[in-house]
Amino acid sequence: MLPESAPTRFRDPQIEMAHGAGGKASRKLVEGLFAPLLFGPAPGPLGDAALVDINGTPVAITTDSFVVKPLSFPGGSIGELAVNGTVNDLAVAGAKAEALVVTYVLEAGLPTPVLEAEVRAMAKAARDAGVRIAAGDTKVVEHGKADHLYITTTGIGPVLAGVSLDPRSVRLGDKILLSGPLGDHGITILLARGELDLEADLRSDTRSVLPLVEALVHAAAPGIRWMRDPTRGGAATSLNELARDCGLGMVLFEDQIPVRNTVRGACELLGLDPLHIANEGQFLAVVAPEYADAAWNALRLAPGGNKARVIGEVREQPAGTVLVTTLYGGSRIVDMLVGDPLPRIC
């Protein structure tokens, strides 16, 4: 049965870039316009993927569009992102991607070698992630009406055995795990755009997180409450959404949050917070305290998980908020990102 539409709450007069940046404005658009009209008055928490029941089998389904400039960058390219991004959205919903369908929106004038390189990158990423690209569609728009190439992927896959995730199941004392260093992707893209005269030896972290999620599930499935891949908007935005959905406080220990020195340096220089920077190959998990050691061990022993850490825990206060504490006893609230992260100079 289809839900009745609910009243909208979105009052911004027009769509701005910030509505697509993954932070507060994006959430307002989704919760104020899309959700009430499409999902009705009580959609529940909005995750990375939706669960549907097909003849008694829980299946996760998700979709994501990729618009990135430049198309390729150190460590990856739009084609690879388009596969890994959707595989990861399913993985953090506790599901193993089974099949993807892909839509290309191409701008007339796009050189064939550029397109071919991206399709090859998709094929390789799909093979690496063990997912089949099952169908696709192509549209071409006039020159100047799109930025080279947009890719949309939709993925579907069964939920892994024993996994049940819900932000409302998060409890006091739960531990917050992070799979690896923050900010590699966002800072790589910022530098690859070439607008800032900065160079750094840095690569995007784009990868499938499914093997890490599988290792975690294998070791600690009953204790996993929630997972999320902190893409646009960064870890701060994901954790703020969780804090709001469960009504508890997310307290992070600044000295435990892994950030590469190059990313830290760029953030210091540009006035950015690594917690707001996008990632494409990491995920956050909230795990019951009695499973935390097993979960952490499983992650750090899995390939690509050696920098995983327990970065914080769930406390009663500050309710609905993310708080970062420092070794010397200071603390600060970290809000969702507002708009795109912009370098701060003066």
Binding site: E16, T325, G339, R344, I345
Partner: protein, 374 residues
């Protein structure tokens, strides 16, 4: 990370805080103004208020270039960019609202707006786009003014014709003077701006010590820098002294940067007066481009509407800017005025005291049981 981690070392920080507690005692209250927006940001980002004794009150000063820029100047700059001009500015400017929206909103509607990291990058845009005019919307105190000056000198030497600067550079000393002249202002001491002082040095503050009898310590931006500066200020206050001291010696030379000052003198001259948001008109408080460089002066080159916009009456930016009100004491704070929809400029830049307070502090202030967290 070198030159950063040393200044965030927990043990040294606790020792310095202990020293502050010892010096501050409990008998009296100390009101110290950090002039620079970078310091305001650092205070909130590092949670310094959590570790300072309650009788040390930090008052946020006017040193946020974005915050003190009148909205009319933004409208003027954007009006010029309507006519097929590339509008280039620092990221700091991009979300600052004009009456018709911010530069970013204009970009979403089709204006050619570019974020640059330095004025030299704006000049590079001019070289790369010879058929377009590039206007750099210049903001900042003496920190950024020299690079704007050097860029214009370069443009002149290279005979670049499609580049101009819309100059909003301001100077810090008149702003401090205006704060001190304000009748409702009671301050004990100043944490002096670090970056500005790399250019102007420490001498220009001597009148604050000599005539106003207020101690001032030029400070760096790491937690330990700021705490040490507070120690130095407390020592002066306890000893009944008022002098200029330099905590940020690793970066700030006492005499400033002569080459930078020369470049500024080559290109700029003082405006007779300039409007500051929240503070009103202050005489000789801003720079304009001199006649020798007028070909690069966007205000000479283009028709400038000269828009003046009064701040919404309910917004109390001026009081907050002068430290008379705390951000959350303004009637609009957190309701009509938030970082997503800033009414006043202090909510726009992360260095603005309202945005810093909103982002890092206000929900913390409202909640109970915080002591169990630290």
């Amino acid at each position: 990370m070198r030159f950063v981690d040393e200044f965030r070392e927990p043990e040294l920080i606790s020792k310095t805080v202990e020293e502050i507690r010892r010096l501050a005692g409990t008998e009296r209250h100390y009101r110290m103004m950090e002039v620079c927006g970078g310091h305001t940001h650092a205070i909130y980002r590092f949670g310094l208020k959590d570790i300072l004794p309650g009788n040390i009150e930090l008052i946020h000063g006017p040193g946020c270039p974005v915050c003190v820029l009148p909205m009319g100047r933004i409208d003027d700059g954007l009006a010029i960019a309507q006519s097929d001009v590339i509008f280039a500015a620092f990221g700091d400017m991009m979300r600052v609202p004009g009456t018709q929206g911010s530069p970013l909103e204009h970009k979403a509607r089709g204006m050619d707006v570019r974020i640059v990291y330095s004025p030299a990058d704006a000049l590079k845009l001019a070289r790369l786009n010879p058929d377009k005019h590039v206007m750099f919307f210049a903001i900042g105190f003496e920190t950024t003014a020299p690079s704007t000056a050097l860029t214009m000198m370069r443009a002149r030497a290279e005979k670049i014709r499609n580049f101009s600067v819309f100059c909003n550079h301001v100077t810090i000393i008149p702003a401090i003077r205006a704060i001190l002249d304000s009748p409702d202002m009671r301050l004990d001491a100043f944490i002096g701006p670090g970056h500005v002082s790399t250019v102007i040095g420490c001498r220009p503050y001597e009148w604050i010590a000599q005539n106003e009898h207020k101690p001032i310590v030029v400070s760096g931006f790491e937690p330990l820098d700021m705490l040490q500066s507070i120690v130095m200020l407390l020592r002066q206050l306890k000893a009944g002294q008022a002098k200029v001291e330099n905590q940020y010696k690793r970066v700030v030379p006492w005499e400033g940067n002569r080459a930078a000052l020369r470049a500024m003198a080559e290109v700029f001259q003082l405006r007779p007066y300039f409007e500051w948001r929240g503070l009103g008109f202050i005489s000789q408080s801003a720079l304009r481009i001199n006649d020798k460089y007028s070909e690069f002066d966007a205000e000479q080159r283009f028709e400038v509407p000269g828009i003046r916009v009064t701040d919404p009456k309910a917004a109390q930016c001026g009081e907050v800017l002068k430290g008379v009100l705390k951000p959350h004491q303004c009637k609009l704070f957190g309701r009509e005025c938030t970082p997503e929809h800033p009414v006043g400029a202090l909510m726009v830049s992360t260095e603005g005291s309202c945005a810093a307070y909103y982002n890092y502090e206000h929900r913390k202030a409202a909640m109970v049981g915080l002591s169990s967290i630290a």
